[in-house]
Structure formats: C-alpha cells, structure tokens
C-alpha cells in the first residue's frame, strides 16, 4: 500500500520485545497458546439530511485484545491502555480466565514481521480536506432532488477509516496490515398518491478517495431517486412460489445466507449447519461454483491478513455443485489439524475472532442475461436485494427485495412493493437452473454474527432460481 511509507513502520504500534513479554505472560498459567491483537483506527464520517450537513465526526479507537487458549477453553481480555503495564495486566486477566495448572516460563520467538498487502490505495482519505468529503454529500443531495418533485427527502452519508492492525501469537506469528475503507451511501424518500416509497444506493471499497474518480455520487443519487419514483407505482408483491431472476451484482446476499454462513467451520463443528458431513457431495446445481476470496483487490471484504495474522487467500467452497471446503479460523483448524483459510475475523480489538466470510461470490455461467428473462414466462425480476438472515441449522433463510419487477411472458413489466423472499438453502442452491455470463460484485455489506459486524463483499452473475416463496400480499 503506497500510504504506508509515511505513517507506518514494522510493528511500531507496540515494540516487538513488549509483545513477546505479553505473550509469555499469557502462557504463564499453563495455556498452550496466547495471542495479541492490536488496533489503531481513525475514522471520519459526515452525514447530510433534510438538505443540511448535520455534522462531521472524527473518531479514534485504539486498544489490544489478548487471547489465551488452554485445552478447549479460551480466555480473553482487552484494554485501551497500550502501555507495557496495561498489556501485561490484560494478559494476566486472560491467562487467569484460561487457567490450566502451572505453566512455567515461556520464551516467545516471533517470526519476521509479515505483510501481505492486497489493496492499492492511491489517495489516503486522511490527506483529503474535509470540505471535499462534505461536497460529495451536497452534490448527491442536489442530484437526487433534481430528478422529480416527488423526491421529498434525501439523506447521504460519507465515511472513511484507516485501521492499522498488528497480530502476534505464541507460535511465532507476527503480522501487520493497514486497512483503508471508503464508503458512500444515499437514501431518498418519494411521495405519491399511494404513500411514500424509498430508494437506496451505496458503494464501499478498500481503497482511498480515488474511488470517487471511478464512481459518480450524482449517478448513485439519481439511481436511488429513480428507484423510489418507480416504486410509487408499485403493486403489492405476489404471495407464493414463483421463478425468481436476480440481476447481476445484486443478489450475492442470497449465497451469503443460503450457504455462506453454513460453510463456516465453527457452526459446522457444533453440528449447527445443514451442510455438516456433506464434504464431497453435490450440494448445489452443477452450474454453481462458489468462492470466498479475501485477496480481491479493492473489494469491500478484501484484507491483507485476517484478524489472527493469517494471510488472506482465495478459497473454493463449492465447485460445479460439489462441496469442496468450509471456511476456517485458528481454533477450528487446530481442532481438525488442518491449515487456516484466512477467515478468522473480528469487529474490533474488544472482540474474539471467529469464522467469517470476506468476499463471497458465484462465478460466471454461460447464458446471456436477457435470455434468462426471456425464458421466464411468469416470475419476479429482482434488481436490488436488501439484507437477509439465515438459520444455519435448518437452512431456512430470508432476504429482502428492495427493487423488483414482475416478469410476464418473458418481459420485465410492473414494479413491485418490497417484501421478503424465503427459501431453504440446500433446496434453493439445487434450484438454480440458469446462470448468466455477466458477473458483477454487489454493494458493500456489513455481516452480523454473534453481535459482531464485519465488512463483507458479495457478487454473482444474473441467475434464475426455479421457484422461491415470495412473501407479498397479492394473490
């Protein structure tokens, strides 16, 4: 990363000799493993609502989390005090929590510092004047309101963060990463005879302010405005089973929920996944190849190292419909005596890592996307999905459609009001019967699990699911 030169050198968040002492302290009560995760994050955000820039916010979060593992028990403590004394006290607390008899004295030998940069930041957001960030909000506001008098409200948000992390453990792992994220979102309200409707667009990348050279916030605002205007005429969504065509880059959340979470080794290990014991079996349509890839440069879920210090990597989870691997973190990989996969992530220094996705996507098929719509006599075309959630044990999952249309006689026709879709993961994966050749990544996501949110990306080409339950109110 080009911004490293001016603001970061190896391990200067905390000196290496202090880290070695803290790790040794962590093992003093007999634990076989200790780890320190140090974070220093600066963020800037700005929000506009009702035509006014409400405020610019500057944030600073800095601290360390110390994890100690003894047998099946993990002890964890965190502190915002990065002095040697503060870190040793946290290590002592974590060690006490994972006490396993008398541990004796340990000497920790750290490897040379590992860096594995995958993102290329050209313009560090910290070098950009706040006025330029605020100007984006005002441009988006004006653009959305210029579209139609029916647009009655606009809110827009800008955010950037610069997070430096350093991870070291008693096995010698010693890794660092500098993570930049830049985010923009706009949401609008339109009003008409049938009430109010909303439109939304967002973008987020692991690059700097140059993201706005390639993406125009005015175009985003106009897309959001047009979405809301179209929905003013929307009729209630259908109720019941129908074919569903999902536009490129708008439906990755389907795979995130239908199988992504179910392929996380912590859930599999506890028998809380419908995909447990299915390795090597056909779990999806042979059209489906599903990949989780933390190295996709610039994408929202891209990371140089994961939050356990393991380099990010590309993992093939499903290949031509066959389950080829789960995603792994340190604890679950250790238990199965296999390598980690770069999927150990945490929200902040105050949280324990667990198995998480990075950028999860389905690779291209061969169909022309227009042919997929033409081949569908009666169904629903989803142009934009919202969030979703899944019960990994049963496989039942939902996701919301925020922009959708009817398909009648092979053509996209009337707009539909918002609703959830519901399906069962393994069934929906098998019911994917057409896959397009127009792969695209989708909007930035924030994935929640066990109370922690981490940034994730997703993507897919246009595709069709033979039948899914649409949760509308129309017959």
């Amino acid at each position: 990363m080009t911004i490293n030169a001016s603001i970061s050198t190896s391990g200067n968040l905390v000196e290496a000799d202090v880290i070695a002492k803290v790790l040794a302290k962590g093992r003093a009560t007999g634990a076989e493993f200790s780890e320190i995760y140090i974070e220093d994050k600066r963020s800037t955000s700005a929000g506009l609502d009702d035509g006014k820039v409400e405020q610019v916010t500057s944030g600073r979060d800095r601290g360390a989390g110390i994890r100690v593992v003894a047998g099946e028990t993990t002890g964890f403590a965190h502190t915002s005090d990065l002095s040697e004394r503060g870190l040793l006290a946290a290590a002592e607390a974590a060690a006490a929590a994972a006490r396993q008899g008398d541990g004796g004295v340990h000497k920790i030998a750290l490897q040379p510092l590992l860096r594995h940069p995958v993102n290329n930041v050209r313009i560090a957001p910290s070098d950009v004047p706040k006025a330029s960030k605020v100007a984006l909000l005002e441009r988006a506001n004006a653009a959305a309101r210029s579209i139609d008098g029916a647009i009655v409200q606009v809110s827009a948000g800008y955010g950037d963060s610069y997070k430096r992390i350093l991870v070291a453990n008693s096995d010698g792992v010693f890794s660092a990463d500098d993570q930049v994220r830049t985010l923009f979102r706009v949401s609008v309200v339109a009003t008409g005879d049938a009430g109010m409707q909303t439109g939304y667009d967002s973008l987020g990348h692991t690059i700097g302010f140059e993201v706005f050279d390639e993406n125009d916030v005015e175009e985003m605002a106009i897309r959001a405005a047009k979405q809301a205007i179209a929905k003013l005429q929307a009729r209630p969504a259908p109720s019941g089973l129908l074919p569903v065509v999902i536009k490129q880059g708008s439906g990755g959340v389907l795979f995130h929920e239908a199988c992504g979470h179910g392929l996380e080794a912590d859930l599999v290990g506890k028998g809380a996944s419908v995909y447990r014991g299915k390795m090597g079996e056909l779990v999806a349509s042979p059209l489906v190849t599903l990949i989780d890839d933390g190295t996709m440069s610039g994408e929202w879920g891209a990371i140089g190292i994961d939050d356990e210090g393991h380099p990010s990597q590309r993992n093939v989870l499903i290949e031509n419909g066959i389950l080829t691997d789960y995603m792994w973190d340190f604890l679950r990989a250790r238990k199965e005596n296999r390598p980690q996969s770069g999927n150990g992530r945490r929200q902040s220094y105050a949280d324990l890592p667990m198995v998480r996705m990075t950028n999860t996507f389905v690779t291209n098929g061969t169909e022309d996307p227009d042919d997929i719509v033409r081949a569908t006599e009666h169904g629903v075309y989803v142009a934009k999905l919202g969030g979703g959630s899944v019960d990994t044990a049963s496989g039942d999952f939902v996701f919301g459609m925020v922009e959708a249309y009817l398909i009648e006689n092979g053509e996209i026709t009337e707009p539909l009001r918002e609703s959830n879709l519901i399906g069962n993961g393994p069934q929906v994966l098998k019911d994917i019967d057409l896959l397009g050749n127009d792969f695209a990544m989708g909007n930035p996501g924030m994935c929640g699990k066990d109370g922690q949110g981490v940034p994730v990306g997703d993507g897919q080409p246009t595709l069709r699911v033979k039948a899914m339950t649409i949760g509308g109110t129309a017959a």
Partner: protein
C-alpha cells in the same frame, strides 16, 4: 443496561463528572459544548459440552464531545479517557464545526424542570457475585436444557453481565452522572430428528443472578426447538396470526421509528398528518414509559440528560403524540418528551421510544388461541431488517410456528412469510393478551392477535 443518574450521592460518579465539567469549562464565547464520558466492564462466559468455551473479562471507556457554534455542529470521540486524548477530541470537534450547515434548530438540551423519578440501577449482589458461581450457573443451564428432551443439543449456554458509569455536562446547565449494572443468561438449542435439525433459544434476566429462572429458560429453549421438528411449508392464504410475546416486542420495535418526532418532521413517517386520528384498533393504548421500574430499559434520564417520563402515544386507537428530543422539539415547535437516545460515547443523541408498552388485555395466550378458528401461532420471525419498511409501511417477514385449527394448536410450520402493512396491522388487531413479559428489549412482550395477514408458503 440502564444507567441511573446522580440524584443520590451513592449513585453519582464524581471523577467522571469532574472530567466532563472540565471540558465544558473550556467553552469560549458563543460556543456550546456537551461532553459525555462513560466507563464500563463486562464478563461473558460461554459453556459448551460441560466446559468453559470462552471467558471474557474486559473494560472500556471513552469520551464524545459535541460543539455547536453559529448553528453549526461538530463532533468527535475517542475510546480512552486519557487527558491528552480528551484535549485532541475537543480540538477535532471544534475543527469539524466549520463543515456543518447552519441549522437554526441546532443546540443542546436545557434543564426543563421536570423531576426525575428515582429508580435503582445498581445491584450490590451482582457486583459481588463470584466468577466461579457465574461459571457454574452457565454449566447448570446447559445441563438443565439437555435434561429436558433427549433430542436436544445445546449449541451454547451463556452468562453475560456488565456495569457502566456515565457522566454528561453541557454549557446549557445539564449536569448528570450515574452508574448501573445488569446481567442475563441465554441458551441456544438444536433439536434433531433424522436429517432434520431445528433451533431454539431462551434467556433469563434479573437484577442479580439470584433472580434467574434457569429451569424456565431451559424448558423454553428445548420446547422452541423440538416443537418445530417435522414442520412443513404451509399453503399460501390469508389468515389470523397470533404473535408470541417475543415477536410482539419486535413488532413494536419496528413501529418505534414511525412515532419518532424527527422522522415525522423530515417526512419519514406515515403518521405525519395523523395526530388526533384513529390509527389503531380502539383496544390499543401504547405508552412509552421508561419510569416503570419493571421495564428492562427503565431509566431516569434520557440521552441528553433530561428526566425520562411517561408518554401516551396512542390512546384507545387514537394517535396522541410523537416522541421528541430537544432538537426535534425545536424543529416542530414542541417540547422535549425526554426521548433522546444515545448509543454510547461514539455517537450524538437521536430520538426514539425508550420503553414501549401496550396496555395489556386480560386473557392468557391459551385462551386467545382457543378463540382462533383458523390461524397460525407465530413463534419466530426472521428478516425484520430486510422485509419491513417503516417509511412505506410494507411488512413482510419470514416466520415459523404452529397452525391453529378450531382453537387448538395443530402441526408445526416453517419456511413461510407473513405480510401486510404496518398501517393495516394496527387496525386489524383483534385481541391483546394479559401475559406481559418484561423482555430484555425496548418494547414489552405480550400475545397479540392480528387478522387478515397474508401467509405465503407453497
């Protein structure tokens, strides 16, 4: 967690109060400053298969400073109470002022003379509860749950507690501090039958661990999962839904944003022009009352330091008022209703309901189900964040539960949705249970019966 304020000396936090007082004293002429600091700790125990899977013991602290000058607002925060960092935060907040748009309504709350209603937020028994006892009761919960049914496995058994201290001061004369602590246990279950697995959960809350009802939590978590074994996807039709108390609480939570005075004034609520009109069945009286000590989110002050109070939002079906912070009140020419919300030191106050309660009916859930010829008892909803739009009112969520036929509970059903609009659902409420459940949420639970909802399945 509820944080009490400092009316009584035993409850105030002098060292934090001194920090915010010092920040506010630095205000220059024409500058309004608000300083908010907090400090807290948590313990989390998770047990799996009889062993402690993790034990988390952590402390955190932070400061947030808001500066307003000439109608422009700037804000900054940091996760530390280090004196140098606080000075940097004040400097950042002042620097950020220049980029806000002047807003004639921008400003801080001013003391309004409304008296606080004292409550108890600190429990000495919890504060002194031994670590070993926290671990053993988490193990006990797992054991009790496993003992309920041979088909049940426990995915995790958890104990969580936390304590917090806050202080806030402003140049407009707000000066409050207080502390509080709280605890709960929760358990997640899996029930197996052949290839099929269903999930359940439950929890128990109390001022101290001595108030937990572990057998009840264990039984509920086991029943929630086993009841759904063999569940089928139901046919699509219009029907009556009986919402379990936990689901009703989530439903009320969605309604909260429509009653928010800031959303109303910015054109984001379908209730905007409905004050004084009938918006719900006449059986419905909805209050927001954080002064009720039974409410999990009970508090004596709001996010700006004004006294919390009881507000009647809907009375016998008629919309009476919206909730306001000092900012939304200035925008709308009303007064703060003590409903500023605050997510911690990292954010500025918003507006919201603090402790929503429906006036209960008299019937038990069993009696209400008996009164339904044909319907579905909804035990869980999924996707409230993705299929419900509180601005348009569109409502659609995934669900699971039990069919009701001729007043009797019939087969389990799953993988379906229930849909209507929020506007219609309020008018279509046909019965309200007397089974109040003070859940760990901003809205109370009780059984609610709503007619004419679309169920989508096969």
């Amino acid at each position: 967690m509820s944080i009490g304020s400092g009316n009584s000396s035993s409850n105030s936090v002098p060292d934090l109060q001194a920090i915010v007082d010092r920040v506010v004293a630095k205000a220059s002429k024409g500058e309004q400053i608000e300083a908010y600091v907090s400090r807290g700790g948590e313990t989390a125990v998770r047990v799996y298969e009889g062993e402690v899977e993790h034990f988390v013991s952590a402390q955190s602290e932070g400061v947030g400073i808001r500066v307003i000058k000439d109608g422009r607002t700037g804000f900054a925060y940091a996760g530390t109470l280090d004196a140098d960092a606080i000075a940097e935060v004040l400097a950042d907040a002042r620097d950020n002022v220049a980029f806000g748009t002047p807003d004639e309504y921008a400003g801080l709350a001013e003391p309004d003379g409304v008296a606080q209603i004292p409550q108890k937020f600190w429990d000495d028994e919890l504060a002194g509860y031994a670590t070993a006892d926290k671990i053993s009761l988490t193990k006990e919960l797992e054991k009790l749950t496993l003992g309920m049914d041979s088909r049940v496995r426990v995915e995790e058994s958890n104990y969580d507690d936390g304590w917090g201290e806050v202080a806030v001061a402003t140049t407009t004369g707000i000066r409050e501090s207080g502390r509080g602590n709280s605890c709960y246990v929760s358990v997640s279950t899996l029930a197996d039958d052949g290839d099929e697995t269903q999930t359940g959960f439950s929890f128990s809350v109390g001022d101290s661990p001595n108030e937990f009802n572990l057998p009840k939590a264990a039984r509920e978590a086991a029943e929630r999962a086993t009841r759904l074994l063999g569940a089928v996807k139901p046919p699509s039709k219009r029907t009556t839904v009986v919402l379990d108390p936990y689901v009703t609480s989530q439903f009320l939570g969605v309604l909260s944003s429509t009653l928010n005075g800031e959303n109303v004034s910015k054109g984001r609520s379908f209730f905007a022009d409905k004050l004084g009109e009938t918006v719900a069945d006449p059986r419905i009286t909805l209050v927001d009352d954080p002064t009720n000590p039974l409410a999990y989110t009970a508090t004596d002050i709001d996010g700006e330091g004004l006294a919390a109070r009881r507000n009647v939002l809907i009375e016998n079906g008629v919309l009476k008022m919206f909730v306001q912070s000092s900012y939304s009140a200035r925008r709308t020419g009303t007064k703060s209703t003590g409903n500023a919300t605050r997510g911690g030191f990292g954010g500025t106050p918003g507006v919201g309901c603090l402790a929503m309660q429906l006036q209960p009916g008299t019937q038990s859930q069993e009696e209400l189900i008996k009164g339904v010829d044909d319907g579905v008892w909804i035990q869980m909803v999924q996707g409230l964040h993705s299929g419900v739009n509180p601005i348009s009112g569109d409502f659609s969520t995934g669900a699971s539960g039990m069919m009701i036929r001729n007043g009797a509970v019939a087969e389990p059903v799953r993988e379906f949705t229930i849909a209507s609009t929020l506007q219609r659902m309020l008018l279509d409420i046909v019965a309200i249970g007397g089974d109040i459940d003070w859940l760990p949420s901003r809205a109370v639970g009780l059984t609610l019966v709503i007619r004419d909802v679309t169920m989508s399945g096969q």
